[in-house]
């Protein structure tokens, strides 16, 4: 039995599952990272993904165009972060509390809207909506193995990897990125050097909202092709966790996102095998995040203690 499990783990299908699973987590991670680069902890990623996933389907349904749905989702993502920015920056509320509150009632608000439009509290299955498809890359798709790995993915998966490269260049190779990182490292020093800290923080929040929204839209318009209650199921938090593990290291962020995706894929493969208890198998991805995050923080703690790295 073990050999049959192992054999499924080393197949092309498993690799492709990982790539599909990684997309929303990487979008979320990118969102958490860009906000953290200017010193803002965006923990509302999960709720932004929920709102955007719903808005994406509804936008696509109302306009008849899946890309309009994507734009709808992004607009809702930006509106959500603007709401957070308004309450925390203008009205002096604790941003963490506002974001915790948002996460807590995101599902209920989504269900309320869903019910008004479809009369159903569970999914948008009753709506016929245009969705986004997959892309076959010409020439590359005909190469054996490599073609199978690189071609035929969902369109937003390609956008995700493109954004990962673009954001690396923006954050580390442009003056704008340098200013943003300066805000994150020491906002007062950045301010003294003439950087408009607040504006950059709002910019990074908006970008963060857009990335998180793309993660949500990927789930509802590309991957599952409907919105269903509770569909984000912690993937936004995995992005936040990946950002915590990365601690400012960009490629570590991407790596952690991929590792979490591996565990999600493992969980899905195990759950199709009745020999394993489904209740526990479903918790594997969360358990992996818990263990990895804890181990990384313990290792960091002892490295700082031994004086190998300067503590903060």
């Amino acid at each position: 039995m073990l050999s049959s499990i192992l054999s499924t783990l080393f197949t092309m299908r498993f690799l492709l599952t990982i790539i599909r699973m990684a997309t929303p987590i990487l979008f979320a991670a990118l969102g958490a990272f860009i906000a953290a680069s200017t010193g803002i902890g965006n923990i509302a990623i999960e709720s932004i993904m929920t709102f955007a996933a719903l808005a994406g389907v509804l936008g696509s349904y109302l306009t008849g165009s899946a890309w309009a749905g994507v734009v709808f989702g992004m607009v809702v993502g930006v509106l959500t972060v603007m709401l957070i920015a308004f309450f925390s920056m203008k009205l002096g509320a604790d941003a963490f509390l506002i974001m915790i509150a948002l996460n807590t009632f995101a599902d209920a608000v989504a269900i309320f809207i869903l019910y008004q439009i479809t009369g159903d509290k569970g999914t948008t299955a009753s709506l016929t909506t245009p969705i986004l498809g997959s892309v076959d890359i010409p020439v590359i798709k005909d190469i054996p193995i490599i073609g199978e790995i690189l071609s035929g993915h969902y369109i937003l998966t390609y956008l995700c990897w493109l954004l990962i490269i673009v954001m690396f260049i923006v954050i580390y190779k442009t003056p704008l990125g340098m200013r943003m990182r300066a805000c994150g490292l020491n906002a007062d020093a950045a301010k003294t050097a003439g950087v408009n800290v607040e504006r950059l923080q709002v910019l990074s929040l908006v970008l963060s909202g857009i990335f998180a929204a793309l993660g949500g839209v990927y789930l509802s318009l590309n991957y599952l092709k409907i919105f269903s209650k509770g569909m984000v199921s912690g993937q936004g938090w995995m992005g936040v966790a990946a950002n915590g593990i990365a601690n400012g290291n960009y490629w570590m962020l991407v790596l952690s996102g991929l590792v979490f995706a591996v565990f999600r894929a493992v969980s899905i493969i195990f759950s199709s095998n009745s020999a394993f208890p489904t209740d526990l198998v479903g918790a594997i991805p969360y358990f992996s995040v818990f263990v990895i995050l804890t181990v990384v923080s313990i290792v960091n703690y002892y490295r700082v203690k031994r004086g190998k790295v300067e503590g903060q």
Partner: protein
């Protein structure tokens, strides 16, 4: 909290807006009114009879004793969750683990409640409580310990643990406490000795209601009058200062988490022994721990405020549930919108500040003229 520095001005103006307590009350009232106004606008959009709808939401639960009884019965576990979150938030700890503690200690309560440990119908519920409180108190410490010792992100850890605990609870109930009678997802029926009876039947009042009041008063005294409470609040408002004044952040993190865990265990036991006769991990206690955080924000971390907030929210939910019978265009999720608006407004320190400052300035000038 931040308004306290103005308290020396408040002595002369007991009934004016410059009194921080009165200002807080006014702010709360205006927040609620704004939330209700927005709710009314939403009702106008979705319901054919919005005026009747909002009247039903606000007065519906008072129309029958069993309605208000349902509110009294259901708000108690939420109040406990709110108290748990309030202790953690007061200490500035973002351990969001109450949800998972509720669900997993539900399995512990169930294990005790289906085992014939004792003939006594007084001792059996007490054993359920003690088991869940000990279990909850211990488990809640984990994220706070990791945060205090190694700096692990407690919010993410506690959320991941919530999902892990939910999986474990489902597994344990299915394989060890379950019965095939209910499709394998639910536990066996609780023994009659474990059930908590009503003291006053029409209003569904049980001994748990008194327990909640006692716990709330004790917690209020601990938070406001005791050394521990002072240390918790200091650590929450100014962690650096707390550290320099010799308060051990580590000990404080552990003790607040333990208190919150014990309260969560109490809430889970209350919910199960008063409202159900068996446990379904995917349904029975889901969402209570998370709602507790909202109750805590509404009650501004004040134990008495939290209990009132929990009652208010469950009252509104009952109101919308009644409305849903009459007019099914308005689902009960609308309460989340009301909650959300109130929370955002009352946690905004600058909301109405300019209005208050103008008043203060005017009063100051008048005093000066005299």
């Amino acid at each position: 909290m931040t308004d306290n520095k103005n308290s020396k001005y408040s002595k002369n103006y007991k009934l004016s807006i410059s009194n921080p307590k009165i200002f807080d009350a006014i702010k709360m009232l205006i927040s609620i009114l704004i939330a209700l106004a927005i709710t009314f606008v939403i009702l106008c959009l979705v319901s054919s009879d919005p005026v009747n709808a909002i009247i039903t939401i606000l007065t519906g639960p008072l129309t029958k004793t069993r309605y208000i009884g349902a509110v009294i019965e259901s708000f108690i576990p939420y109040a406990f969750a709110g108290l748990a979150a309030g202790v953690l938030f007061s200490a500035g700890a973002f351990n969001l683990g109450a949800e998972g503690i509720y669900i997993l200690s539900g399995a512990v309560v169930t294990a005790v409640a289906i085992t014939p440990l004792t003939e006594s119908s007084i001792l059996h519920p007490i054993l359920c409580y003690l088991a869940a409180m000990a279990f909850g108190g211990t488990l809640m410490i984990l994220p706070s310990f990791l945060k205090a010792k190694f700096g692990t992100n407690e919010m993410v850890v506690s959320l991941m643990l919530n999902s892990i605990y939910a999986g474990i609870a489902a597994y344990v109930v299915r394989n060890y406490l379950g019965t095939l009678k209910r499709g394998g997802n639910s536990s066996k029926d609780y023994l009659a000795t474990a059930k908590i009876p009503y003291i006053y039947d029409p209003l569904h009042i049980t001994i748990c209601f008194i327990l909640l009041i006692v716990v709330t008063i004790i917690l209020y005294l601990v938070m406001k009058k005791s050394r521990l409470g002072y240390q918790i609040r200091l650590a929450g408002t100014n962690p650096k200062f707390a550290e320099y004044s010799g308060i051990s952040a580590f000990k404080l993190a552990i003790s607040t988490a333990a208190i919150a865990g014990v309260l969560s265990g109490m809430g889970a036991t209350t919910a199960l022994l008063t409202q159900t006769t068996f446990y379904t991990p995917s349904q029975s206690l889901v969402g209570i721990g998370f709602s507790g955080m909202l109750m805590s924000m509404l009650g501004r971390n004040n134990p008495i405020g939290i209990v009132i907030a929990a009652f208010m929210i469950k009252y509104l939910e009952q109101g919308t549930a009644i409305l849903y019978f009459v007019d099914n265009s308005v689902p009960s999720e609308i309460v989340a919108i009301v909650e959300g608006i109130i929370i955002m407004l009352i946690s905004s320190q600058h909301f109405l500040r300019r209005f208050r400052e103008k008043k203060l300035l005017k009063e100051g000038l008048e005093e000066h003229a005299e």
